[in-house]
């Protein structure tokens, strides 16, 4: 009993020391520019499970734990927006049992999240689910909508979870929404002018109209786009929004991602920030 209490005290002390050192490191990093928005492609869960001879599902579960630590470090260092690519529209082509498993994990984690709302709201995290939510199973979609509603008033930090998302879907959808908006606007202005609709203007829809209707229009463009497991492609993620993003591909599989990858990514960004800001201004 005495030994247990002692080891409990030691581990608490050690934990406190590690936490203090981490805060010191983050304070030091804050001497330079901290990215406002980091996006993550959470790649490598299945490879992780294969590597450690686990069930495939265990890889996704390990990935979720990794997501929680990465989020913690990002918010601690001062990143305001974190976007994660949880499930692509292309992933619906996977085996049905794997798709169902991922849906079940999402449902379970969102329900768990809803149970901790007090803590979430204390940290001021606003959760947004980005993508074609109608493609999700009904219980998952309802849970996601509930989570979005419950955190709608938070403004300190943002977590954007891309599910049933691809840029190939987002861009034409934004065009559709922009067309709908312009059509209504022209119809109402047309009514005021005795039914004369002005269709001589060749550029009714501009880039800014499309960006307003993008799923990701709720957040600024990402400063860093991280893909774990060392792959160098974006797989249909934030293609429109990554014009001036630093692309970073650490070799670690997603469940292996953590503190050092976040630190290294931010240090790389700080080193190249001047160039990236210059490019943003030129646009």
């Amino acid at each position: 009993m005495e030994e247990e209490r002692q080891s409990g005290v030691i581990s608490k002390w050690l934990g406190g020391l590690i936490s203090t050192m981490r805060r010191l490191l983050f304070t030091f990093m804050s001497s330079g520019p901290i990215p406002q928005h980091i996006a993550f492609i959470m790649d490598g869960n299945r490879r992780f499970a294969k590597k450690w001879k686990l069930d495939e599902g265990a890889g996704h579960k390990a990935g979720f734990l990794s997501l929680l630590s990465v989020l913690k470090y990002c918010y601690e260092v001062g990143v305001k927006y974190v976007t994660v690519y949880a499930f692509s529209l292309d992933n619906f082509n996977r085996r049905p049992d794997e798709v169902q498993y991922v849906m079940d994990i999402m449902y379970e984690k969102i329900q768990g999240f809803l149970k901790e709302l007090d803590m979430v709201n204390r940290y001021g995290v606003r959760v947004l689910f980005i993508g074609d939510l109608n493609r999700l199973d009904e219980p998952v979609r309802l849970a996601a909508e509930k989570a979005m509603e419950a955190t709608a008033k938070n403004t300190k930090t943002y977590l954007l979870v891309c599910v049933a998302y691809t840029s190939s879907h987002e861009i034409p959808r934004a065009i559709y929404e922009a067309c709908q908006e312009k059509s209504l606007a022209l119809a109402s202005s047309g009514k005021n002018d005795d039914g004369i609709v002005n269709d001589d203007d060749d550029d009714v829809i501009k880039v800014v109209d499309l960006e307003k209707h993008m799923y990701m229009g709720v957040a600024p463009d990402p400063d860093i786009l991280v893909r774990s497991s060392g792959e160098t492609r974006l797989s249909n993620f934030l293609l429109w929004q990554s014009t001036n993003s630093l692309l970073y591909s650490p070799k670690a599989l997603w469940p292996e991602m953590g503190f050092w990858q976040v630190v290294w990514g931010i240090l790389k960004y700080q080193n190249k920030c001047y160039y990236l800001e210059k490019k943003k201004k030129q646009a």
């Binding site: 861009i171 034409p172 065009i175 559709y176 880039v207 797989s235 160039y275 030129q282």
Partner: protein
């Protein structure tokens, strides 16, 4: 003397000096990072020497069939150095690259199009003397106006097609609608398989979004430090990549 005010002043001075210390430490760390980048550049130069002189057998027989369409992104400031771009194209041509997409944000490469087409183009207009045995390449020149602005033009095309007539059916736009609209505007080239990025940062700088869904993007460093061996390594690595396309 108010002890509370005194201690507040003392702690303020300590926190100010510790902030200055952290600020200086930050600069020192970033200086070390810059030195590490230089060291990495030296290692890359050694690697390049070994590859181009045949010491590394892995890269001797490149299978270029998998690279059907190669994209090159160049930082616009570096793209103004036409001779460096020509040198790069000479290497790519010698490796056997047939189809190439050249992108720079501001369209600097578009302005030098005539120079490149004359040296390497496969059209009838190119001047190819009988003694010149350079391999010919097909070019596409792209800039930022072919990216988001092209999508906006396509959006206007779709708007005119489906929304000007009030009674017509208004479908939910999909990738197919966008592709057709872009084709009408002249965007007919395929997606690049591999994108080599020449610039200070690994960033695609606004390459047309809908064309890089599954494109592998490799950072090659600044154009002035380009290395043939590293191009061979990037192409070789690309041929080993296995894509699931999400499934």
């Amino acid at each position: 003397m108010d002890p509370v005010a005194e201690s507040q002043k003392f702690f303020r001075r300590i926190s100010q000096s510790s902030n200055i210390m952290l600020f200086l430490l930050w600069h020192v760390v970033h200086l070390i990072l810059s030195v590490l980048y230089i060291v990495r550049e030296i290692f890359r130069a050694i690697e390049n020497y070994l590859i181009t002189n045949g010491y590394v057998k892995t890269y001797t027989n490149l299978n270029l069939d998998r690279v059907k369409y190669l994209g090159i992104v160049i930082d616009s400031d570096e793209a103004r150095n036409t001779s460096k771009v020509v040198e790069l194209l000479e290497w790519l041509s010698a490796l056997g690259v047939k189809k190439l997409c050249l992108y720079d944000r501001e369209g600097v490469l578009k302005k030098s199009k005539a120079v490149f087409m004359e040296r390497f183009g496969s059209t009838e207009n190119s001047v190819a003397g009988p003694l010149v045995s350079k391999k010919r390449m097909d070019f596409e020149f792209v800039s930022i106006t072919d990216g988001k602005e092209a999508v906006a033009k396509a959006a206007n095309l779709l708007f005119k097609k489906y929304y000007v007539d009030g009674d017509s059916e208004k479908p939910f736009f999909t990738e197919a609608h966008l592709t057709d609209a872009l084709k009408t505007l002249g965007a007919v080239e395929p997606d690049p398989d591999l994108l080599l990025i020449y610039g200070p940062v690994r960033c695609h700088l606004g390459f047309p979004a809908w064309r890089i869904r599954y494109t592998e993007m490799v950072h090659m460093g600044p154009l002035k430090y380009k290395k043939l061996g590293l191009i061979m390594k990037a192409i070789h690595r690309f041929t080993k990549v296995k894509q699931n396309y999400g499934s």
